[in-house]
């Protein structure tokens, strides 16, 4: 048994996952943020003469069926995708903390009701739920964010709630209560900071799931729609040209993999640093 734990311990101290993940996700974020303001070529300029060019120095990832530079479009697409992921996490994480904190700390009937609801929603495959919501709201970027945000909120509620339940009876909290600290203060000043490492891991996982959901729905044509570039709808366009221009599909696909892998390695690193051994 000693050997394994020693390995684990070594990993705690260094955790290469953390560093690799940090590197990959930073590159992704910088790239995506940069894509907002600047791309090497125009993302919309079309050129009949330059259709389906294989990757070269001029066009790092080649060109698409309109002769547009895929590298630039992937950059733009990544910014859309990352932005959507970020807003979804902000939305669902924000509401998750609020509702999870209140129900976890106070319990009672409200808690019971909310958890019933959370269980019901969690059981449903998230993409299906988002699909139904998007049909009600109509497709497009804003509605996509809203639907995914709503769909992802319950899992945050659950995580935050269980952390609050764990901590609400801790000694230092009981003491704070005895000292007459206001409830709001206990919730958000005393407890909240202590769940940050758990929470940050779930934020990253949530972010990844949001990115995967966004690209999946855009691929199905119900998420971000052209002319807005998103990695998902680029892939759906590219699918038809797999034989002729495989790079067209590979560029957005591998970009998604890069972003998601970066954040999951990072979250794994954080988890290992925190010394937790968890399922996923």
């Amino acid at each position: 048994m000693g050997k394994l734990q020693r390995i684990m311990k070594k990993l705690h101290n260094k955790s290469p996952y953390f560093w690799i993940g940090l590197f990959m996700s930073s590159v992704a974020v910088v790239w995506a943020v940069l894509g907002f303001f600047w791309t090497p070529c125009s993302t919309t300029a079309m050129s009949a003469a330059e259709r389906f060019q294989a990757p070269s120095w001029g066009h790092l990832f080649g060109t698409d069926n309109f002769g547009r530079d895929i590298f630039s479009r992937v950059m733009k697409g990544a910014s859309t995708t990352v932005l959507v992921g970020l807003l979804v996490v902000l939305f669902s994480g924000g509401f998750g903390v609020l509702i999870g904190a209140l129900t976890g700390y106070f319990g009672g009937i409200l808690d019971e009701l909310v958890m019933r609801f959370v269980d019901a929603v969690n059981g449903f495959p998230s993409i299906l739920l988002a699909l139904v919501m998007i049909s009600v709201l109509g497709s497009g970027r804003h509605n996509l964010i809203l639907s995914l945000g709503i769909v992802f909120t319950p899992s945050f509620i659950r995580i935050v709630r269980s952390e609050f339940i764990r901590l609400r009876d801790a000694d230092y909290i009981s003491r704070a209560r005895l000292m007459g600290v206001k409830k709001i203060r206990i919730l958000f000043v005393h407890i909240l900071p202590n769940i940050l490492s758990t929470f940050s891991v779930s934020v990253m996982i949530g972010f990844n799931n949001a990115i995967l959901a966004e690209s999946g729905m855009s691929y199905l044509g119900i998420g971000v729609l052209p002319p807005d570039a998103s990695l998902g709808n680029m892939l759906s366009d590219a699918q038809g040209y797999l034989m002729r221009a495989p790079w067209y599909a590979m560029a957005p696909g591998l970009t998604i993999v890069w972003i998601v892998l970066g954040f999951s390695l990072l979250s794994e690193g954080i988890r290992r640093n925190a010394g937790e051994v968890r399922g996923l």
Partner: protein, 538 residues
Amino acid sequence: MKRRISVYFMTALLLMTALGGCAGGTQKPSEDKSSLESTVAENSQAVQSSQETKADGTGEAGYGGKVVVGIQQDMDSLDPHKATAAGTKEILFNIFEGLVKPDPDGNLINAVASDYSISEDGLTYTFTLREGVKFHNGNNVTAEDVKYSLERASGLLDGTALISSLSAAKGGITKVDILNDNTVQVSVSSANLELIYSFTAAIIPAGSGEDPEAQPVGTGPFSFVSYKPQESIVLKKNPDYWQQGLPYLDEVDFKIVNSADTALLELQGGSIDIYPYLTDSQATELQGKMDVLSAPSNVVQALFLNNADPVLKDVKVRQAICYALDRDSVNDFVFGGNAAVVSCAMLPTMQSYYEDLNSVYGTSGNAEKAKELLAEAGYPDGIDFTIQVPSNYEVHMETAEVVADQLNAANIHTTVVPVEWETWLSDVYNGRKYQGTISGITTDMTPGYLLNRFQTESSKNFVNYANAKYDETYAKAAASLDLTEKAGYYKELQKLMAEDAGTAFLSVPPITVAIKPELEGYTFYPVYVQDMSVVKYK
């Protein structure tokens, strides 16, 4: 009496994915053709001629076999009178026939009728039934069946016209009389040169329209076998077909493909043999591996402008948009240069009716002129403009991307909003709540249908075009019983519309079909059909 030609025969507007072929002109196909047509028509003629040489040799090799045709739309109905989607009618063409039916040259030929005559005043049609025509259930077609079918389609049976151009209120059928066992006389409410096209309405067995169990039974070259939603519709050879020697194939499967992209994979892999809706880049990809044929379609694609919009109400703004469009490059990017750029709601292939108005706004874009006009209209800094596009039509989506780029260059700050087809139908087409939208309108054989919708009060006038002179001229055209006079009025209508910039017409896209090299005989029609009866193995 107020007359309106509203010919049913044309299908749903703008089923771009379901383009109809158009090889010949409407009335006089032998006259000189436009340059675009002659280049593409060579293809189709080559195919046709190879078919003609072998068509009459029964017993010759080439019979038998099965073909899988990829289609993009699911069937909206199995009832030939109720079906409205172009994608459904193209298939039902193989099962059902009317008294008359279109041929590849754009003429009507006799089908269930062997002959017909129209009275001097244009109010009475007398049809003689062809001897020995059988339904797929083995029964002979009787005068009763014909009477039933026409009454059902025109609404005489239960008050609801399934084919609106046949309804008495729209100048259609008021009475159907059986003169004898093989003669039927039809009275119509107003004389109309284009009404005969509506008699392509399917003839079905009497009573089958109310029988809940009835499977589609017609007189066409193929009979119905089965239909599985989202998968396929299977037809088999009708051995009793009245046209000697047809069809060649034993079985035709129309397979509903998932998307244009998978269709390409399936073509390459061999799980479909014919696919009629290739985009330009797909066609290039298949070049050499498949026979790729192309002909002008019967769709006019346009950036439709809502004339009632507060900003677009100003004719100068609409003209500015027309000037800003570089329609040549739309053609290059989206259709590989194979579309015919037009400036009016008419197909160039309908030569005697078509007016070439491309010089009015030019075809290569004039951003300066557009900015000038905007300034004159009181918008020196340009305008904001929203284009709604039905997102399921890839061609329209691609066009929108190109067009937005061009408009932006002329200070028309354009946002493209993709909407679902069903939302498009209810909000844009029926609700008329939009600024601009890209889609297409189609006609099958009658030129009037394209112009009809732009009358001020037309229920299909979704661009809210309003011009009293237009309405007046249209009424004259409809009343005219002389083809040349009618053509003159039609040309005038196109001119009026162009001057008002009532809508920014773009082009008539090509229809491009991929066919497995082992097959021959595929024939383009000026209507929206997939005629499988003439297709055969080499």
